[in-house]
Symmetry: C2
Subunit: 141 residues, 2 copies
């Protein structure tokens, strides 16, 4: 039995999340991004998101998000667009350069996580993904 096995599911989840965070940090650094900036870019891959929604997704206070978006916008990776239907709101979307960086970073992280899962049999991987999906469904609900 491994050390991890003894510690229970919760501890396994904590360690796993720490490892994933470190992978993310390494990949971010290799692209000259902070982990927070890379996380922001990856969140925008599927399309522009409003500031409020982005704050919920990233678990950030609105003022923290303002600063984060400011710095990434200054580097030309994202763009704020004023919402015409509600002139208070704005959407944050990737620029071409930002989209490229986001895609590359996401692929790098994916590759390293796939490698980490390399020992698992296909059936185990499928069950693992399904079990995680079940847990995550509980979060949104």
């Amino acid at each position: 039995m491994t050390t991890t096995g003894q510690a229970g599911l919760a501890s396994a989840l904590m360690r796993l999340s720490q490892v994933v965070a470190h992978v993310f940090a390494d990949v971010s650094r290799s692209r000259d991004l902070t982990p927070q900036q890379a996380q922001l870019l990856c969140t925008l891959i599927e399309g522009p998101v409003g500031m409020s929604e982005l704050g919920r997704l990233l678990h950030l206070e609105k003022s923290s998000l303002t600063g984060l978006v400011d710095r990434v916008e200054r580097r030309g990776l994202v763009l704020r667009t004023r919402d015409p239907s509600d002139r208070r709101a704005s959407q944050v979307g990737l620029t071409c350069q930002g989209a490229q960086l986001a895609a590359e970073s996401h692929e790098d992280v994916t590759a390293r996580l796939e490698d980490l899962a390399g020992e698992l049999a296909p059936a185990d991987r499928k069950r693992l993904a399904a079990a995680i999906a079940t847990m995550l469904d509980r979060v949104v609900a």
Copy 2:
């Protein structure tokens, strides 16, 4: 099929780790700790650790760790002890108050993660923990 299910194992792992990080952040905040401080305390639960080893575990440069330990020591949660056999080195250990906070925080996070896993059948939980353990074994090796 859920949104998560479509995205593959790597994406599931990324989202899971983000959720765990948010849980950790919430629990830390409720104890008036930063996530980094709570992570440090939890790392010391099993016993004192040297600064170099701590840096490896937390994925931090030595100077970053110096500051983090400084701030937590100033709050009376940890204590540096000079190693008699190598007078350059020092061990960082929890104080009574630090140990209490660490235990409480760890229990809180554990409870919230267990809750998250609540939908899973016992057999699935066991398989999930085992699969994660297999992945983590690959990290250390």
